[in-house]
C-alpha cells in the first residue's frame, strides 16, 4: 500500500525572512533569504572535525544536551536512538547532538556516552563538543535557549527540542525530544522533507 501523508502539507521554513534585490542582465529580482544555520566547527566522539559541510546534501536533526544531565537528557537520548534505528537504511539523514557542557564533556567523555547508548556509528550520529561560546552561539541559531544555571538540575537549562534541518540548512520543524508522540511526528516529517 502506498504511504499516505495525512493532515500535513509542506513543512514550514522557520525563522525570520529577509529579502534581497539582485540584478541580472539589467533585470531586478527580489530574492527571499530564509533563516539558516551559519558555519560551525566542532569535534565529534571520534575526534573528527564536524562542520556545516559535514551535512552538505543531508537532512539532519540537531539537539542540545549534556552527559551528566539527570532529568530530560536520558529521555532525549532514548528518543534520538529511536530515530537512529528508524533511519538505519537511510543515507541522507543524520543526527547531531551538541553538548552544552564542553568543560565536562570532552571528546573522550562523549565517546563513552555514545558507547553506553549502543554501538553508535559516528557518521550517522555525531555527539559534538567544542568552544563554549561557539556552542552557545550555535544554539541561538536554532532558537535554543541553552544556558548555564546553577539552580537547574545538573547546572544547565535547555529546552529538549529536536530541530529538523533541511539540505539548505533551514530549520523546518521543532519537536519536543522528550515526547514520544512528537518524535513520531518528526519521523513522518523527515519523510515529507525527503520527498520535497
Amino acid at each position: 500500500m502506498p504511504e499516505q501523508q495525512v493532515g500535513r502539507g509542506p513543512l514550514p521554513i522557520l525563522g525570520e525572512k529577509d529579502t534581497q534585490v539582485r540584478e541580472e542582465n539589467g533585470q531586478k529580482y527580489v530574492d527571499t533569504l530564509y533563516h539558516h544555520i551559519p558555519s560551525f566547527s566542532f569535534w565529534d566522539q571520534d575526534s573528527s572535525v564536524v562542520t556545516e559541510h559535514t551535512f552538505d546534501g543531508k537532512i539532519y536533526i540537531a539537539d542540545f544536551f549534556f552527559t551528566s544531565c539527570p532529568t530530560i537528557c536520558p529521555v532525549m537520548t532514548i528518543q534520538m536512538h529511536r530515530l537512529y534505528e528508524d533511519l538505519r537504511d537511510v543515507n541522507d539523514v543524520v543526527l547531531l547532538s551538541h553538548s552544552i557542557d564542553p568543560q565536562r564533556d570532552s571528546v573522550a567523555h562523549l565517546k563513552k556516552y555514545a558507547a553506553k547508548t549502543g554501538s553508535i556509528d559516528a557518521q550517522r550520529w555525531h555527539f559534538v563538543t567544542g568552544d563554549k561560546d561557539h556552542i552557545y552561539e550555535m544554539a541561538k541559531a536554532y532558537f535554543e535557549n541553552a544556558a548555564a544555571s546553577p539552580d537547574a538540575p545538573g547546572g544547565f537549562i535547555h529546552s529538549g527540542y529536536f530541530y529538523l534541518v533541511d539540505k539548505q540548512k533551514r530549520i523546518r520543524g521543532l519537536y519536543l525530544g522528550t515526547d514520544e508522540k512528537q518524535v513520531d511526528r518528526l519521523m513522518k516529517d523527515i519523510r515529507i522533507l525527503r520527498n520535497e
Binding site: 539527570p70 536520558p74 529521555v75 558507547a115 547508548t117 545538573g154
Partner: protein, 154 residues
C-alpha cells in the same frame, strides 16, 4: 402477560454478567489490583520514559527495573531513590551504571509531586511487574525508610 415475563427474564439475564463483573472487580481490589493500577499509572507518568514500559532500562545509560538484583537487594532504598534520585556508580546485574537520575518527588517549585501512599503503590507495582516478585511494602515501611534520606543538592 407474555411481554412482562420476557422483560423480566431479560433483566435477570442481564444481572449475571454485571454481578460477575462486580465480583471480579471486588476480588481484584482485594488482591491489590487497584493498587497496581495506580502504581502502573504513576510508573507510566514518571518512570517509563527512561526505564522503559517493560522496565528493561536503556543501553548502559539507564539500568533495568525488571529482574534487577539491585532492586531486589535495596528495597528499603526505593522510596528515597524515587523522591530524591540517585547518583554515582551502581552495579545492576553485573553492569556498572553511572548516570545521575533526578528525584521525581518534587516539581520545579519544590512542591511535593508524589504522596507517600502513591510511592507505596508505585513500589508495589514495580515489585510485582515484569516477573519481579518483591515483598509487599506497607505505608509504614515507606514512612520509616524515608526517614533515612534528605534532598541532595542536584
Amino acid at each position: 402477560m407474555n411481554k412482562k415475563a420476557s422483560g423480566k427474564s431479560i433483566s435477570i439475564h442481564f444481572i449475571w454478567p454485571v454481578a460477575a463483573l462486580v465480583l471480579l472487580l471486588a476480588l481484584r481490589g482485594l488482591l491489590g489490583g487497584s493498587q497496581a493500577e495506580v502504581g502502573g499509572e504513576i510508573y507510566q507518568n514518571y518512570c517509563a520514559s527512561c526505564h522503559g514500559e517493560e522496565g528493561k532500562g536503556f543501553g548502559e545509560l539507564v539500568p533495568p527495573l525488571a529482574g534487577a538484583d539491585f532492586l531486589a537487594q535495596n528495597q528499603d532504598k526505593l522510596p528515597c531513590i524515587i523522591l530524591y534520585g540517585i547518583e554515582g556508580p551502581i552495579e545492576v546485574n553485573g553492569i556498572t551504571y553511572n548516570q545521575p537520575m533526578a528525584g521525581l518527588g518534587f516539581d520545579e517549585l519544590g512542591l511535593a509531586r508524589l504522596s507517600h501512599s502513591q510511592i507505596q503503590q508505585l513500589i508495589n507495582f514495580i515489585q510485582n511487574s515484569w516477573g519481579n516478585k518483591g515483598a509487599e511494602v506497607s505505608r509504614q515501611q515507606v514512612n520509616d525508610w524515608l526517614k533515612e534520606c534528605s534532598k541532595p543538592s542536584f
